[in-house]
C-alpha cells in the first residue's frame, strides 16, 4: 500500500466471562451441550420472564477492568439494545450504553515499531445471543444455549495503525484476560471474538475516514490479513475517486478479500433506553474487594520482573508468561529453589513438550517439584543434561522423586578426569581418519568424538569435561 496512506484501526472484543451460569439466569454456560438444553424461560425470552443479574459476572467484569487500568464506575446502567434477529429471543439485547461499567484504560504493546500504548475507551457487560446453523433445506436452525452467556465488550480507541499491530493488541489483551481467569482466550470456539473497525486516511491528516466494520474474524492471523486486505480495498477505491461506504464486511481468507455481509440489516436504530427491569448496578467496596482478590500480576509485569530481576532471556520469559498455568509452574519451581535461568531454559522445552493446554486449564506430565529436583541434580553435577532428560521421561505421570531414583541407581556423571582421559586417549588412538580430518581443519569432527565418548559411558560422562580433554589431545601437534 502506498506510503501516502495510513490505516486506522479500532477493535471491539467480546470476551465470554468464565462464570458457571448465564448473566441473567441460572442456566449453565458450559460449551458443547446438545442444542436447546441449557435454556429456561428467561434466556428463551418467554413472556413474563425477568432478568436476575449474576454477581460473579460483575466481579469478573470489574477484575478485567482493573487489570486493564480502566476506571470502574460506582454506578452503571443496563440498557436494552433493540433489533429483530432470530437468535435474539427478546428482540433486544441487554447491554450497557450511556453508563458502562468502566471507561478510560490502556494496554501497552511491544510492536516491531517499538512500544505503543493503546487507549481503551470502555468495558461494558452484555448478554450473548444464541447460535444458528443455516442451509437446512431452506431453513435456519436456532440454538439458544449460548443466549444469555455473559460477555465483556472491550472497545479500543482507533489507535492501531496496521493489521500486525491489531494482532499484537489482541494477543496482549487475550493474555491479560486469560491471566486474570476472566476468559479462556479461545478464538476458535468463539469465546473470544473480535470485530475490527477499519478506515484509511492520508498521512498527516487528523480526521478519520469512513470506517468499515469487519466481523467474524476467528483467528489472529485472519484479523491481520483481513485488515490489510480491507485497507488495500479502501485505498484503491479512494485513489480511483470513489467513496468508501460505511458497512459491515466479512473476510474470505482464501481469496484474501473482504466482502459485504448480506443478510444482516444495515442502518440499525437500536433505540437504547435504560432497562426498566434492572435498577442501576452499584459496585460497592465488597464487590471491588472480591474483584481485587483474584487479581494477579499481569503478564507484562511478570516478564519484566523475570527478565530484569532474574536474568531470564526475553524469549523464554514470553513463553513462561503466556499462560497462567505455565507461569504458576515456573513460579512454584522458583519458590522451591530452582535456579531461574536453568528453569527458564528447561520448562519451555522439556515440560511444555508433553503438556496439554485447553483454554485456562493445563496438564503437565511432571510436577514443579520433580523439575526442581532434576535441575538441582544437574547443577550438582550428579546428572548430565541428557541424563536428566531421560530421567524426566521415566518419572512422567508418576510422583516418583528423581533424586531418590538417581541415588538408588548410583547414577553419577563420570567426572573422574583420569578415567575420562584414558577413554579419550583410547578413542583417539582408534580413529586415525577422524583425527587427521580434525587436524586438517574440520573442527566439527570434535562432535563425533564427544558422541563416541558419551556412547561409551552410556551418557554418563560430563560432556564439558570430555570436550576439554578431547580438545587438549586433538590440538596437540602430532607426535
Amino acid at each position: 500500500m502506498s506510503a501516502r496512506w495510513e490505516t486506522v484501526v479500532g477493535l471491539e472484543v467480546h470476551a465470554q466471562l468464565l462464570t458457571r451460569t448465564k448473566l441473567f439466569c441460572g442456566c449453565p454456560t458450559s460449551a458443547g451441550a446438545p442444542p436447546n438444553v441449557q435454556v429456561c424461560a428467561v434466556c428463551l425470552g418467554l413472556p413474563g420472564a425477568l432478568p436476575a443479574a449474576n454477581r460473579e459476572a460483575i466481579v469478573l467484569g470489574v477484575r478485567a477492568a482493573l487489570a486493564l487500568g480502566l476506571t470502574v464506575h460506582e454506578e452503571s446502567v443496563f440498557a436494552r439494545k433493540s433489533y429483530f434477529y432470530p437468535d435474539l429471543p427478546k428482540g433486544y439485547q441487554i447491554s450497557q450504553f450511556e453508563r458502562p461499567l468502566a471507561t478510560g484504560g490502556q494496554l501497552d504493546l511491544e510492536t516491531s515499531a517499538g512500544p505503543r500504548r493503546v487507549t481503551l475507551q470502555r468495558l461494558h457487560l452484555e448478554e450473548d445471543a444464541g447460535k444458528s446453523v443455516h442451509g437446512h433445506g431452506g431453513d435456519s436452525l436456532v440454538d439458544l444455549n449460548r443466549a444469555g452467556v455473559p460477555l465483556a465488550e472491550i472497545v479500543s480507541a482507533p489507535d492501531l495503525r496496521s493489521g500486525e499491530e491489531a494482532a499484537t493488541y489482541l494477543r496482549a489483551l487475550r493474555d491479560v484476560l486469560v491471566f486474570q481467569g476472566v476468559n479462556d482466550g479461545n478464538l476458535e470456539s468463539g469465546s473470544f471474538r473480535c470485530d475490527a473497525n477499519v478506515s484509511v486516511r492520508r498521512q498527516g491528516s487528523d480526521t478519520l475516514g469512513t470506517r468499515v466494520e469487519l466481523k467474524n474474524l476467528n483467528s489472529f492471523r485472519f484479523v491481520q490479513r483481513a485488515i490489510e486486505a480491507e485497507a488495500r480495498r479502501q485505498v484503491a477505491l479512494l485513489e480511483a475517486g470513489a467513496a468508501v461506504d460505511a458497512e459491515t464486511r466479512s473476510y474470505d481468507p482464501e481469496a484474501d478479500r473482504t466482502a459485504s455481509l448480506r443478510g444482516k440489516e444495515e442502518a440499525h436504530d437500536y433505540r437504547y433506553f435504560p432497562d426498566p427491569d434492572l435498577p442501576p448496578l452499584r459496585v460497592d467496596e465488597a464487590l471491588l474487594e472480591a474483584a481485587r482478590a483474584g487479581l494477579g500480576e499481569s503478564p507484562a509485569a511478570l516478564r519484566a520482573r523475570w527478565t530484569e530481576g532474574l536474568g531470564v532471556p526475553a524469549a523464554a520469559a514470553r513463553t513462561l508468561a503466556s499462560h497462567p498455568r505455565i507461569a504458576e509452574f515456573f513460579q512454584r519451581a522458583l519458590a522451591l529453589g530452582a535456579d531461574a535461568r536453568r528453569a527458564a531454559a528447561w520448562i519451555p522445552t522439556e515440560v511444555l513438550r508433553g503438556a496439554e493446554i485447553d483454554g485456562l486449564a493445563a496438564t503437565f506430565r511432571v510436577t514443579p517439584e520433580q523439575v526442581t529436583e532434576l535441575l538441582a541434580l544437574v547443577e550438582e553435577g550428579v546428572l548430565s543434561g541428557k541424563q536428566a532428560k531421560d530421567l524426566q521421561l521415566e518419572v512422567e505421570g508418576t510422583d516418583a522423586s528423581p533424586r531418590a531414583i538417581a541415588e538408588g541407581r548410583g547414577l553419577r556423571v563420570v567426572a573422574d578426569e583420569a578415567a575420562l582421559a584414558a577413554l579419550c586417549d583410547e578413542l583417539i588412538a582408534g580413529a586415525e581418519r577422524q583425527v587427521a580430518a580434525y587436524r586438517k581443519g574440520q573442527r566439527g569432527v570434535l562432535g563425533w568424538f564427544v558422541g563416541q565418548a558419551m556412547q561409551r559411558t552410556r551418557g554418563a560422562a560430563d560432556p564439558r569435561l570430555v570436550t576439554r580433554l578431547l580438545t587438549e589431545r586433538l590440538d596437540k601437534p602430532a607426535s
Binding site: 428463551l44 418467554l46 425477568l50 443479574a53 432470530p86 429471543p89 426498566p276 427491569d277
Partner: protein, 491 residues
C-alpha cells in the same frame, strides 16, 4: 353482590375446619361460571384442573394436614399472568397457535403470584378477560370478545382487568388477581363495584406477568370486601429475589390493618383532580366518600399536585415505549402464532405474524413507543417524559409531608356503554388522568366502592369507586381507610 355469598376468609375457614368440601365449593363456582358465561368475564374455565386440585385438597384435609390461608377459595386469574396448567393468551391472537383461544400458549411455569396462590391452597378457577396485553380501559380491545358489566350488561366493566372485576362482581369467585399499570385494577373495580388494590410498585413479584410497561406494572387483588382483598394481598405480596424490581421489604399484616383506627388521619384532596370535569353524579359520590371519611374521624385537607396535567402525556410516552420493547419477543419464532408468507424470509415472517397477531390498539402503542425511542426523538419524548415523571413523583412527596393519604375519584365518569369510545383512542387515554399519577409515582392506591350513581330513565344505578392513595409501603394505612369507608357505606 350475588352468588359467591361467602367471603374468602369464611370459605377458607370452613374448608380448613372440614365444614365444607373444596370440591363442592369448586363445583358451585363452575356452575356460576356457566350461568354467567354471557358476561364474557372468563376466557378459559379451568374445569378439570380446578376439580382435581380441590379433590387433592379435600384428601389432604381428611388426612389431617394443615391447609393454607386460602384453602379451597376459588380465584380467577387475569389472563396476563402465566399459569402452567391453563392457556395464557393476554387476549391476543399472537399468543395462540391458530388465532383461536382454544390453542392459547401454554407457559412452562406459573407466575410467582399464582404460585403463591396455589401454595396457600387457593383453587385457580379460570383465566379472566382483559384488554389485549393490558392495553386499554374497557376490556373491549381483546381479540376474543368484550366483558360486560354485571351492573348493566350494555356497559363495559372497565379495563384492562375487566374480566377479573366482573368475575368478582357477579359472584363467580370471591377473589381475583389483576394487574394495574395506569389504573387497570382500580378503574374496573370502580365500574363494577368491587374493591381493587394496586400495591406499591415492587410489592408483588412481576415474575410471570406478561410485561406491558415494566416500570409501571403491578399485580394486585380484587375482591368484594376490603378484608378479602387484604387476605389475597397478604398471600401474594413479598420479596422475590428473581424479580430485580421486587421490594426487599417485609409485607405488612394486611388483614389486621382493616380493623385499625383511622381517626386523626389527614386525607388530602388534590384540587387539580376536581378540575378535570367530573360527571355530577361522580362528584356527588366523591363528596359522600369524603363525608364518610370525615365521620370516621379523618381530617379532609386541600392539597395541590400541580404536575397532574402532565400525567397523561408522560404515561403514554413511557408506557408505549416500554411496551414496544416488551412485545418485540412476540415474533413467531419460539411460541405462539406464526404466519409464514410463502416467498418471504425471516423479516416477512416477523411482519406477517405481528401484523395478523396484534390488534389495532396494540399496534398503535407499539408504533408510538417505537417512535418515541427512535433516533432523533428519544430526547424530545422519552427522556422528557422521564423528567416529567420526576415532577409528578415529587408532587406526591411534598403532599405527603402534610397529609397521610390522598382521596380522589377513580374516573370522571361511571361505566360507559360498550363501543362508545372505540373510535377515539385519545379520549380513552384522557379518562385515565385520575389513576395515572399514582402509577407514575409507584404509590399504593386502591378503589373502594362508594355511593353508586342514582338511577335515571337512561341508566340504572352504576357503581362508583373512591380512590385512596398512600405513601410507598403504606398499604396497611390504605386498607384501614378503605375499611372505614366500607363500614360507613354498609347500612
Amino acid at each position: 353482590m350475588t352468588g359467591a355469598a361467602s367471603s374468602a376468609s369464611r370459605i377458607a375457614a370452613d374448608v380448613r375446619g372440614g365444614r365444607r368440601s373444596a370440591v363442592e365449593i369448586t363445583r358451585e363456582a363452575l356452575a356460576r361460571c356457566d350461568r354467567h358465561a354471557e358476561l364474557g368475564a372468563l376466557l378459559y374455565v379451568a374445569r378439570d384442573t380446578a376439580l382435581a386440585a380441590a379433590s387433592r385438597l379435600d384428601a389432604r384435609r381428611a388426612a389431617g394436614e394443615p391447609l393454607g390461608t386460602l384453602a379451597g377459595v376459588p380465584v380467577v386469574v387475569k389472563d396476563a399472568l402465566c399459569t402452567i396448567d391453563a392457556p395464557t393468551t393476554c387476549a391476543s391472537r399472537i399468543l395462540t397457535r391458530d388465532g383461536t383461544p382454544a390453542t392459547g400458549w401454554r407457559p412452562p411455569y406459573d407466575a410467582e403470584a399464582v404460585a403463591r396462590l396455589r401454595a396457600a391452597d387457593a383453587i385457580v378457577l379460570g383465566k379472566a378477560n382483559l384488554d389485549e396485553f393490558a392495553m386499554g380501559s374497557s376490556t373491549e380491545h381483546g381479540a376474543f370478545g368484550a366483558t360486560h358489566n354485571p351492573a348493566d350488561p350494555t356497559r363495559t366493566a372497565g379495563g384492562s382487568s375487566g374480566g377479573s372485576a366482573a368475575a368478582v362482581a357477579s359472584g363467580l369467585a370471591p377473589l381475583a388477581l389483576g394487574s394495574d399499570t395506569g389504573g387497570s385494577i382500580r378503574q374496573p373495580a370502580s365500574f363494577t363495584g368491587v374493591v381493587g388494590i394496586k400495591p406499591t410498585y415492587g410489592r408483588v413479584s412481576r415474575r410471570g406477568l406478561v410485561a406491558f410497561a415494566s416500570s409501571l406494572d403491578c399485580v394486585g387483588p380484587l375482591a368484594a370486601t376490603v378484608e378479602d382483598a387484604a387476605l389475597l394481598l397478604a398471600v401474594v405480596a413479598g420479596h422475590d429475589p428473581l424479580d430485580s424490581t421486587s421490594l426487599d421489604a417485609r409485607a405488612g399484616d394486611y388483614v389486621a390493618a382493616c380493623g385499625r383506627e383511622v381517626a386523626g388521619l389527614r386525607v388530602g384532596v388534590p384540587r387539580e383532580y376536581l378540575e378535570t370535569g367530573l360527571e355530577p353524579e361522580v362528584e356527588a359520590s366523591f363528596r359522600e366518600g369524603l363525608a364518610q371519611l370525615g365521620r370516621a374521624g379523618c381530617e379532609i385537607v386541600d392539597v395541590s399536585l400541580p404536575s397532574t396535567r402532565l400525567a397523561v402525556a408522560t404515561y403514554y410516552v413511557i408506557a408505549a415505549a416500554e411496551a414496544s420493547s416488551n412485545l418485540a419477543r412476540l415474533d413467531g419464532v419460539r411460541f405462539g402464532l406464526r404466519v409464514e408468507p410463502p416467498a418471504g424470509g425471516i423479516a416477512a415472517l416477523h411482519a406477517a405474524t405481528r401484523s395478523r397477531g396484534f390488534g389495532a390498539e396494540v399496534k398503535r402503542r407499539i408504533l408510538l413507543g417505537t417512535w418515541v425511542l427512535s433516533a432523533g426523538y428519544y430526547d424530545a419524548y422519552y427522556l422528557r417524559a422521564q423528567r416529567a415523571r420526576t415532577l409528578i413523583r415529587e408532587d406526591f412527596v411534598r403532599a405527603f409531608a402534610s397529609v397521610d393519604a390522598i382521596a380522589a375519584p377513580v374516573s370522571p365518569v361511571p361505566a360507559f356503554r360498550l363501543g362508545e369510545r372505540l373510535d377515539d383512542p385519545l379520549s380513552m387515554y384522557l379518562a385515565d388522568a385520575l389513576t395515572l399519577p399514582p402509577s407514575l409515582a409507584g404509590l399504593p392506591a386502591l378503589s373502594v366502592p362508594s355511593r353508586p350513581t342514582r338511577p335515571t330513565g337512561d341508566r340504572p344505578a352504576l357503581p362508583v369507586g373512591l380512590q385512596l392513595v398512600a405513601p410507598p409501603l403504606e398499604e396497611e394505612r390504605l386498607l384501614a381507610l378503605a375499611a372505614a369507608v366500607e363500614r360507613a357505606a354498609t347500612p
